[in-house]
Symmetry: C2
């Protein structure tokens, strides 16, 4: 059975960067909601499309720009549409069955529980998250005030928690649910990823 | 300024074992409440005694049996006596000023905040914790039932949370407070400690 690492994360905490670097370090595929949404969107028959992609390239890597969804003024895409959830659910199961991978969000930790994934939660203090969001925001847009940005960050997190609760019945930010919770406020992600990869490989 | 790692932990989660192995891995001193209590108890003038110990051996290592306080039926020593807290507070500051060290509990993360310690929280699910407690319990004692043991474990954790809140004003199990939270339920402590030590050294 494939080795799976799932990452739930607070908005602006660097969860995607961590996931992507971890995938590179371990030679795993990397999937996040943008990739999964693209896959679902490209074909009316999502499953066939996924199979065709995966059969050609067992290790699937979609180069994406880290931080594309750090836009300060656009809420992260959260859609409670159960049909979309159901499509993505199937895609996630299909992708996970084909190769070792890192998956960001999308309730993947719950959907893939039979794979016994290593479950990470990535978080950070508000100043760090605001700093990261500002660094990734498009330069041609008028920046939000600190108050607006902080509020936006909290809103995205609340949406994620609600989404998770809605589809899994479980609490999103529950320590007992995760194997490791990493506060990136005082850590340099690219520097600790190799050590983190080693720790993860030590799971019983 | 000395490098400090502080470990707060749920009862039965292996926090001490993790701390001791981490100290050995990094070549740090290791202190827990037993050691600090011993130091405080050995001399009426705790500070002079501490200084005399530390000046002779800058890297202080007290061989203790891991798990001595895993006794299933004896509550962990929690004393809200402010005088004892004050003595231990001074001892902790003294020890931390002399060498790099790992300190278990005792609100050390709060007491030594000016050292900017790396703050760990170690936890585990209830079955793991019960298993660990049973493995460490004295064999000549009548074992507790599962229900009694689970209750005892929760009581110890509640006491720790109360102690922490009382002396620091802060919530003990608050993710934002820690740099890393490790769930030992599905990890083998001695196997991941070297990687963890490397991660810790990457703190900004």
């Amino acid at each position: 059975m494939s080795k799976i690492i799932t990452i739930n994360r607070q908005f602006g905490s660097g969860g995607r960067e961590l996931g992507k670097r971890l995938a590179e370090e371990l030679g795993y595929a990397y999937y996040d909601n943008e990739i999964i949404t693209q896959i679902a969107g490209r074909s009316g028959l999502a499953e066939d499309y996924v199979s065709s992609i995966v059969e050609k390239k067992p290790i699937v890597y979609y180069p994406i720009t880290i931080g594309r969804t750090f836009l300060a003024h656009t809420p992260a895409p959260v859609d409670f549409n159960t049909q979309i959830y159901s499509e993505q659910h199937n895609i996630i199961k299909e992708l996970a069955s084909k190769s070792d991978c890192v998956i960001i969000g999308r309730c993947a930790d719950y959907i893939l529980s039979e794979h016994d994934p290593f479950k990470l939660f990535v978080y950070a203090d508000m100043p760090s998250r605001m700093e990261r969001c500002r660094a990734k925001a498009p330069t041609d847009e008028k920046p939000l005030s600190d108050k607006q940005l902080a509020r936006h960050i909290k809103e995205v997190d609340n949406e994620r928690a609600d989404y998770y609760k809605f589809f899994t019945g479980q609490k999103w930010l529950d320590a007992e649910h995760y194997d490791l919770m990493i506060n990136t406020s005082r850590m340099v992600i690219k520097e600790f990823v190799p050590a983190l990869a080693t720790m993860i490989q030590n799971k019983k």
